[in-house]
């Protein structure tokens, strides 16, 4: 499967372990993510708070580039990026005048032909029935808490993915890998996201709740498909433990880590050894 790959700032920077894992895992499934040439910011950070038009123009340019480079599907592994791209596509679909205006701003035409996928949708596209027979090392002793975060399913009318409040698509993948996902409460709660820069205490409190609930429901690890969530739950876990006085020790995996492990890829190749919380 040929696929446009939109890394966004995270996968080339703080979360390049995610990219490493993604490339290793998808390569095994004959999915070929090709980085969009000359991609720019998705508009997620300051743009959408400061300038509405800019927050559409930035993702629209990325969509237009993917289209020019002959792609039909686009993978944005960061949920913030995929939501921004989907939002721009939706707004332009609903308003032909806006599409013309944005097209003239970005000096390219985004017709809306490119379909934006999140990471889970790529696995769904490959087909769970095709992943199942190639599982080499079933993750039988893994009881992951599948964590979707705030953006994978929201806003529902933009992303149109899974049940926004009680999602189950990641659990379905886990079941195929032989893992036993736990039923827990904080699947779609906020981890604190970018507040990690501005007001760390918020992140420490919000992420603590997520870790605590996962632990209470018998999880022995978390799995996520968001670089920001991974930063807050993995890198900050030590700080969270110090802040709350609780001990979690819960490894946090990217979705591609666990699929990769089950397919027989080594932890080093997936970059799992670069995570902060190690498996005990």
């Amino acid at each position: 499967m040929r696929l446009a790959y939109y890394p966004g700032c995270a996968l080339h920077g703080s979360s390049n372990d995610y990219e490493q894992s993604l490339r290793a895992c998808l390569g095994k499934l004959e999915v070929e993510p090709q980085e969009i040439q000359e991609w720019i910011c998705c508009g997620a950070t300051a743009a959408h708070a400061l300038n509405h038009k800019l927050s559409i123009a930035l993702p629209a340019r990325n969509l237009a580039l993917a289209e020019q480079q002959g792609f039909e599907d686009l993978l944005a592994p960061c949920p913030m990026c995929s939501m921004q791209l989907l939002k721009a596509a939706k707004l332009m679909d609903e308003d032909a005048g806006l599409r013309r205006e944005i097209s003239s701003v970005i000096e390219a035409e985004a017709s809306g032909r490119v379909k934006v996928l999140n990471l889970i949708q790529v696995f769904q596209r490959v087909g769970l029935d095709r992943i199942k027979p190639v599982v080499k090392k079933p993750l039988a002793d893994l009881k992951p808490a599948c964590y979707y975060g705030c953006l994978l399913t929201r806003p529902p009318d933009v992303v149109k993915f899974d049940d926004p409040e009680q999602p189950s698509s990641m659990e379905a993948i886990m079941a195929v890998l032989g893992a036993k996902p736990v039923d827990w409460n904080y699947r779609t709660e906020c981890c604190g996201a970018g507040m990690t820069m501005a007001k760390e205490e918020t992140v420490l409190e919000l992420s603590q709740r997520i870790l605590a609930d996962a632990q209470q429901h018998g999880a022995n690890c978390l799995v996520t498909a968001c670089p920001m969530c991974h930063v807050n739950l993995d890198m900050k876990q030590g700080d969270i433990e110090r802040h709350s006085g609780e001990r979690f020790g819960l490894p946090v995996y990217y979705l591609t880590d666990l699929v990769g492990l089950a397919l027989g890829i080594s932890a080093e190749e997936l970059g799992i050894d670069r995570h902060f919380v190690k498996k005990v």
């Binding site: 529902p156 049940d163 926004p164 409040e165 009680q166 409460n185 904080y186 709660e189 609930d213 209470q216």
Partner: protein
Amino acid sequence: MSRIGVFVCWCGENIARTVDVAEVASASAKIPGVRCSVHYKYMCSDPGQAMIREKIERERLDAVVVASCSPHMHLKTFRKTVERAGLNPYLVEMANIREQCSWVHHDRSQATAKAAEIIRMSVEKVRQDHALQPIRVPVTRRAMVIGGGVAGIQAALDIADAGYEVVMVEREPSIGGKMAGLSETFPTLDCSQCILTPRMVEVGQHPRIKLYSYSEVEAVDGFIGNFTAKIRQKARYVDISKCTGCGECWNVCPLKRNPSEFDFKMGMRPAIYVPFPQAVPARPVIDSKTCAKLIRNGCGLCEKKCQAGAINFKDTDKVVEEKIGAVVVATGYQLYDIGKQQTGKLAGYGEYGYGKYKDVIDSLQFERLVSASGPTNGAIKRPSDGKEPKSVVFVSCVGSRDNAKGLSYCSKICCMYTAKHTMLYKHKVHDGQAHVFYMDLRSGGKGYEEFVRRAIEQDGAKYYRGRVSKITQQNSKLIVRGADTLAGTPVTIEADLVVLAAAMRPSPGVTDLARMLNVGYDEHGFLLESHPKLRPVETNAGGVFICGACHSPKDIPESVAQASAAAAKTQILFAAEELTREPEIAQINEQMCAACFACYRTCPYHAIEQAEVHTPRGVFVKKTARVNPGLCMGCGTCVAVCPSKSAELEGFTEQEIYSMVESLA
């Protein structure tokens, strides 16, 4: 018509201030064929009408033009006036020189000239008018009531007590509707079943009520006074004429663990069952989806045990026909399905965990939980572990007043029944605490506000103005997170039970029924009344009336009042043996009709029939469109679409309209 009388009204100052009525009257007198032309201060007053009658008699007038207000105001008045003077009532025209002239103009001379022209047009029209006779249609004095809830029961009993026969059709195995499952009712806390079941028995025993339970209306043909309904009696597998209701069959049935529809899945029932002890008819029905005999030819114990030989596993659906003259629709409501993605934007409320957590239930389930006839015999035990909940959170407006993923309207009764729920709970669990999240408290109604205050002040329910954002579960407690917008703080409550007051929606399938009956419905599927203020139980389909929650969310008193209103309207229809209708309806010139049936397809009242013309010896000549005078409402759509100009509207013929236009040239 050559002896036309023109009567110009001043309408006090309404017309006379802007229009020179004397000048208009004298100008009208000069129109050829006008025999007399007079003006008077109030033509609609008794002396005014006497003047018209006197002129008709003395001047031997053969047509009358009254120049006054809109025909909507007084056409009926003046038709009666001329009729009393011996003139055909359809030989009077009204020239509207008030709404269409004096009220909308300032310049006296221009308004006067315009009034004269309006009158001239009416004179030309009345010249073309001919006498019309009211249409008489025989009436089958027998009503069908669809739905056997409290509204349907009230309507049926009122009509039957007035001396007319009633056919009642109920979809479920028993009548009683939602009310039969309620515990106590607001604002008096009297027992719902105690006040309803005597009425149900009355229906069951009434000599003039024919009850079709476990049946559905499949088709309705005909028109006001003359409907034919096809009713499907679903296979019950029990012959209710033989059955004595002894109960041996459901006692012996081994398949006892099927979720009970009547208990909203809070309790269990056997495969052969009566929904509740006071059911009418008190005869069981076999659930073909669970009965072992019907699925795989096993078991059959009930048949062996039945002394009366009433069990019939070979039973099939039967379709019967009933002739009726009026229909009362009382199909009631269902609750918003909170957990599930539904049609369109109704996305469900996954955040409340309904369907995921056993102790999150909806308000009708709570009714069964507190009802003495419910699965716990009225003891408040939560579904998960049967423990008595010490803290209960009630969430109102679930699905109501929510444009994002619910319904835009207010479900109207939830504020009241939630207050009731907190009281019933407190009366049974004295050390318990009820919490209510609400948007606004809407307690308009006799004794309603006082009732809500009692819940808060005497029974100590805690009310928080705000919404709940998420419900999660921790160690068998439900963690309810919400906002108190009056205090401006987030609220977290550890609850043992959560009750969601789900929005009221019309019953499933009601829009199919509406199409069958030619009744309109709104975007939510609620049936449309003919006029929101003045014709609240009539519909645009003649002879079809609505009452209860099929029209909009309603409580019991309002449903009952509306049901009696629908019954009264039915009795008005049945008061005469023949139905008189206005003769201003469409007619098809069958000789000219090319049988293209453009009119057939466009008629909004389905009043056009496809007919055949035969010679007196029965030889087929041609096809033609034909108007059913019982159904035609005289809207004129067929006249507009007919390519061969074969359709005419009596009282508004093309000739009449053209001569009006010509008079202006």
